[in-house]
């Protein structure tokens, strides 16, 4: 007994020593990071709730049923089986130890054994998943591709060892008579039956060996965990508690330096703009990196990775983590002499640029950094709430604002935004072109000398650059205007008073330009007294509703699909015409994932007679980006296959007549994709791409004089002589247009 106590305590001391040394190192690495933004510690209630649901109830893990259930079994197993560790230590001191009060209850014995079995089933499931989805079999498409496979198998093996040693000593305890539970421990009883024939003295030895073995494995596991990706066991609850709530999507964080927002009008001399080195990340960033479990759920969803690009959110986070740990000794050294005394490899790590070509030792290759579409599929999936998109944009900010290193073709968009206020450089005079040819007058703010929005105007219609200038998006603007007019909703537009909301500039990392545009727009909107805004572009929608509050612009912003769905529900719009169309709907990232508007577009489609909606395999939260987000619209896509074509193929797989979306960027990308596939003979000629509102409009138009006029107009040339800038009559009637093509 004494021997077993001494060995047990010695093991414990050794393991705790090793583990705490490592934890201390990790803590010091964490301290290298910048302070976090103050929001992180506010709103304790929702943070506690997050820990409760995401840690204890495994909410995000259970989004994937099989892997989630297996993880839940193992996770709960570890919590419950904490009791067996207590019992094990107790038995070192006192052979017939039991937990006070409940320690001999049948239910506890049963629960412990139930979870021993559940954990074994869980790790068996994990093993099957790892074999079936092994990178050697599935290659790049495996979510484990690039993860540390050996370490993962070692962890599974260690958990297996914990479980069988538990059964061993519990079985032997039953045979020696020192087991605390008389009933309930069914699995231990089976083990006892197997061990029983060995005789009493053998069981005596096995009891001690089992206890020491079990504790030894647990302690070994502890040391392994703090030295591996399995650190998430300890860090995940903290990471989840301190992550952005409700999720790190929607708005981007302002540029923070030293925990304070950078004032771009008068930046401090020591202000860090974005992240130019690993130590520029906040300690929460470093916590993110250390918490990554390499599960690869992000990677499996990432549009960049799935189209052969070098970016995988998982590999990005792993790369940053490995670099942080490798560079830490360099950063922790307190003098130049100490740094010079470091091993060559550590000094080399200290010299690596954070962003730079891999060939030049860069930690994150520019091709990786600029492949991100900020679609948020990674953030959506991450079971430990890592904020990939924020980290990527923070690194972009440094590259753009400090280094001026970014894909040069994006320069055109930036220059146009600066000079003309829209990405194509058409200028604000062109912003009214889309209204021409509408059968009613669109009210433009200021045309009749208004100084504030008139009382009868319910909504300010924010048209956006695409909605004003892009030919497809102009159709959407006209449809929405017509539908609002039809429903009797009074609205007004700003016309030349709008400028770009700055989404693309911000996601590219050009915060300075974004802030200029944002301040200008907020000033305009506040001046006219805007309260309710309706917007057709998912990117404008996100910026107006989530990011302008950062600049003092608080409005009630609705997306046109939300407003139209409401008008249909209230009976103010009655879709009556049978359109007879097979339709699929593409969730724009900035409408769906970032802003949780999933059902209104579907409600609209559902209300239209003759619409047969078929969902794509990846929809709603798991929708696959069109490829235009994160300012990727303004960059060349030269690596791998095209994101838009991949998504187009998925849409075409539903055999639609019409591919719908609710964002002008998506419509451009899908229109391109469908056109390419048609040219290749891989898509039927009749397939079209259109905004959801166009379908609704088509179903609402009365087959009365209006439609006749619409059909007659282009032929009869009812439109006055086309002046430069005037829209052709054919485009003014989307319904006629839908049929024409």
């Amino acid at each position: 007994m004494l021997v077993r106590l001494i060995i047990g305590l010695a093991m414990t001391a050794a393991a705790l020593g090793l583990a705490s040394r490592r934890l201390l190192f990790l803590y010091r690495v964490g301290r290298l990071g910048q302070p976090v933004d103050p929001e992180r510690t506010k709103d304790v209630g929702s943070r506690a709730w997050a820990v409760l649901t995401e840690v204890l109830a495994q909410r995000k893990l259970l989004k994937w049923t099989v892997a989630g259930a297996a993880h839940a079994a193992v996770f709960w197993g570890f919590l419950i089986l904490g009791a067996t560790i207590l019992e094990g230590y107790g038995a070192l001191f006192q052979r017939d130890f039991h937990i006070p009060l409940i320690g001999t209850d049948t239910w506890l014995g049963f629960l412990e054994d139930l979870f021993i079995v559940a954990v074994l089933a869980g790790i068996a499931t994990f093993a099957v998943l790892r074999i079936r989805q092994s990178p050697s079999r599935a290659g790049r498409s495996s979510r484990f591709s690039g993860s540390h496979l050996g370490a993962a198998w070692l962890v599974l093996f260690m958990i297996f060892n914990v479980m069988w040693t538990l059964l061993l000593y519990r079985g032997a305890q039953i045979n020696t008579g020192y087991f605390p539970y008389r009933h309930g421990a069914f699995a231990s009883e089976i083990a006892a039956k197997i061990l029983h024939p060995l005789g009493h003295s053998a069981n005596d030895v096995l009891e001690t060996v089992g206890i020491l073995g079990s504790l030894g494995v647990v302690l070994g596991f502890l040391v392994l965990v703090v030295n591996s990706k399995h650190l998430h066991i300890f860090l995940a609850p903290f990471n989840i508690a301190l992550s952005r709530r409700p999720r790190a999507l929607g708005a981007l964080l302002p540029v923070y330096s030293d925990g304070k927002e950078v004032d771009f009008e008068d930046p401090g001399e020591d202000d860090k703009i974005g992240r130019g080195a690993i130590e520029d990340f906040t300690w929460k960033g470093l916590l993110d990196f250390s918490t990554c479990t390499e599960c690869g759920r992000c990677q499996s969803q990432c549009p960049a990775w799935n189209t052969g690009k070098p970016l995988s959110p998982k590999l990005l986070i792993m790369g940053l983590r490995d670099h942080a740990l490798a560079k830490a000794p360099y950063l922790l050294a307190d003098s130049d002499d100490a740094r010079a005394a470091l091993p060559e490899a550590v000094r080399a790590e200290g010299e690596r640029p954070l962003v730079g070509p891999v060939a030049d030792g860069g930690v994150i290759d520019p091709d990786v950094l600029w492949s991100c579409v900020t679609c948020g599929a990674c953030v959506e999936q991450c079971p430990v709430d890592i904020e990939h998109v924020d980290h990527i944009v923070d690194m972009r900010r440094y590259q753009v604002m400090i280094e001026s290193e970014f894909p040069h073709e994006a320069q055109g968009m930036l220059r146009n935004l600066e000079r003309k206020g829209d990405p194509w450089g058409r200028g604000n005079k062109a912003r009214l072109e889309w209204t021409q040819g509408l059968p009613f007058e669109v009210r433009v703010f200021g045309e009749n000398g208004e100084e504030a929005l008139p009382g009868d105007v319910e909504y300010l219609f924010w048209v956006g650059c695409a909605g004003s200038l892009d030919d497809n998006a102009k159709k959407t603007s006209r449809s929405v205007a017509e539908l609002l007019h039809e429903a009797g909703v009074e609205f007004m537009i700003l016309g030349s008073g709008e400028t770009c909301t700055g989404d693309a500039a911000r996601r590219l990392g050009q915060e300075l330009l974004f802030q200029e545009l944002a301040k200008q727009n907020v000033e305009t909107l506040n001046e006219v007294g805007a309260r309710k805004i309706v917007v057709t572009c998912a990117h404008c929608f996100n910026t107006l509703s989530n990011e302008y509050p950062q600049f003092g612009g608080d409005y009630e912003v609705v997306h046109h699909t939300e407003l139209l769905a409401k008008l249909v529900a209230e009976g103010k719009l009655r879709p009556v015409n049978d359109v007879n169309l097979a339709v699929t709907y593409h969730d724009p990232c900035y409408l769906g994932r970032h802003n949780r508007v999933f059902s209104p577009p579907r409600d609209i489609l559902g209300s239209v007679p003759g619409v047969r909606l078929t969902e794509m395999p990846r929809n709603k939260e798991r929708s696959f980006c069109c490829g235009a987000g994160g300012a990727r619209m303004w960059m060349e896509e030269t690596i791998g296959t095209r994101i838009n074509e991949t998504r187009t193929d998925e849409a075409l797989g539903t055999e639609p007549d019409l591919v719908t979306a609710a964002c002008p960027y998506c419509i451009v990308m899908l229109t391109d994709g469908v056109a390419t596939r048609k040219q290749e003979g891989k898509a039927p000629e009749n397939v079209r791409v259109a905004d959801v509102s166009e379908v609704l409009l088509r179903s609402i138009q009365k087959p009365g004089p209006k439609a006749v006029a619409a059909a007659a107009e282009p032929a009869a040339g009812a439109e006055p002589t086309p002046t430069p800038g005037a829209e052709p009559a054919a485009e003014s009637q989307p319904a006629a247009d839908l049929e024409a093509e």
């Binding site: 894909p407 073709e409 994006a410 055109g412 968009m413 146009n416 990405p423 194509w424 450089g425 058409r426 200038l469 892009d470 030919d471 303004w634 960059m635 060349e636 030269t638 391109d672 056109a675 390419t676 040219q679 086309p722 430069p724 800038g725 005037a726 052709p728 054919a730 485009e731």
Partner: protein, 278 residues
């Protein structure tokens, strides 16, 4: 060196002389990547003094779909010899290759050509010239470009002839680049090449906002499109509603006629009314 098994659609790639066992030159890797798009790449490594003989021998035995050789003064002799001996087609200074049904499409700066011979010799412009070429398009005084309305890669060779006749550069829209009718880097679009020629001639270009954005710096814009409602026609100084396959040959004839009668020769900046009425 060459596998004994017959290969499906082999495409021979002449290795660079600097290649060694450990590393292939960037130019060779690019050739292999290009070859992979149209068949099964087969790397041929030999002393370049004997390269023509070696390639001819292999080609006679294995009937490759194409033989890819990097453009360079020294290699051009090899390419010419091989093509003459095999009596095959030759496409020079190619930047992009694709395979369409039963023929190769070779895209170069000036044109896009379909190749119907069983074997062809393709000399490929190494990529490091690319930025230089982009510059040429973006800096050119005269640019001729086509879009989806051109209808085919073949149609682009008509545009290429017009560009040549006007002493200009050939470009295309985003869509034309996507469809492989013009090299991707010659897509006049945002993002893409932004041009500022004195004369811009657009054929079969509808004029999407991204294209119009990229031609903002153009002086005189002449547009030919069959759709009277195409936005490009509102942007153009001279708009022609018609079929470019009729208009452009007429323009070529006119240009040839003028070139033949010297006193009539004018500077190739035809803001002259003839064009608009063509």
């Amino acid at each position: 060196m060459f596998p004994p098994m017959p290969l499906a659609d082999p495409v021979l790639v002449l290795a660079d002389e600097t290649d060694d066992d450990d590393a292939l030159a960037q130019a060779t890797r690019e050739l292999l990547a290009l070859a992979r798009r149209v068949g099964t790449p087969v790397l041929v490594r030999c002393d370049h003094c004997r390269a023509a003989e070696v390639l001819i021998d292999i080609a006679r035995d294995h009937r490759p779909r194409a033989i890819l050789i990097n453009s360079s003064p020294a290699n051009d002799r090899i390419s010419a010899q091989v093509a003459v001996h095999l009596e095959s087609a030759i496409a020079t200074d190619v930047t992009d290759l694709s395979f369409d049904d039963d023929h190769l499409v070779a895209v170069s700066d000036r044109m896009s050509s379909e190749i119907h011979t069983p074997t062809s010799v393709i000399t490929v412009r190494p990529r490091n010239h690319e930025s230089q070429r982009e510059l040429l398009l973006t800096e050119a005084d005269v640019v001729v470009a086509g879009g989806r309305g051109v209808g085919s890669a073949e149609g682009f060779s008509l545009l290429a002839r017009v560009a040549y006749a006007l002493g200009g550069r050939l470009g295309g829209t985003h869509t034309a680049g996507e469809l492989g009718w013009c090299p991707r880097h010659a897509s006049i679009s945002l993002p893409g090449a932004r041009i500022r020629p004195r004369l811009y001639l657009a054929g079969g270009v509808s004029g999407s906002v991204r294209h119009r954005s990229a031609i903002r710096g153009a002086g005189t814009v002449v547009a030919i499109d069959s759709d009277p409602n195409a936005p490009i026609l509102r942007e153009a100084d001279f708009g022609i509603v018609g079929d470019l396959h009729e208009v452009l040959p007429a323009l070529l004839d006119e240009l040839a006629a003028r070139a033949a009668s010297p006193p009539q020769t004018v500077t190739p900046v035809p803001s002259s009314p003839e064009l608009a009425e063509a």
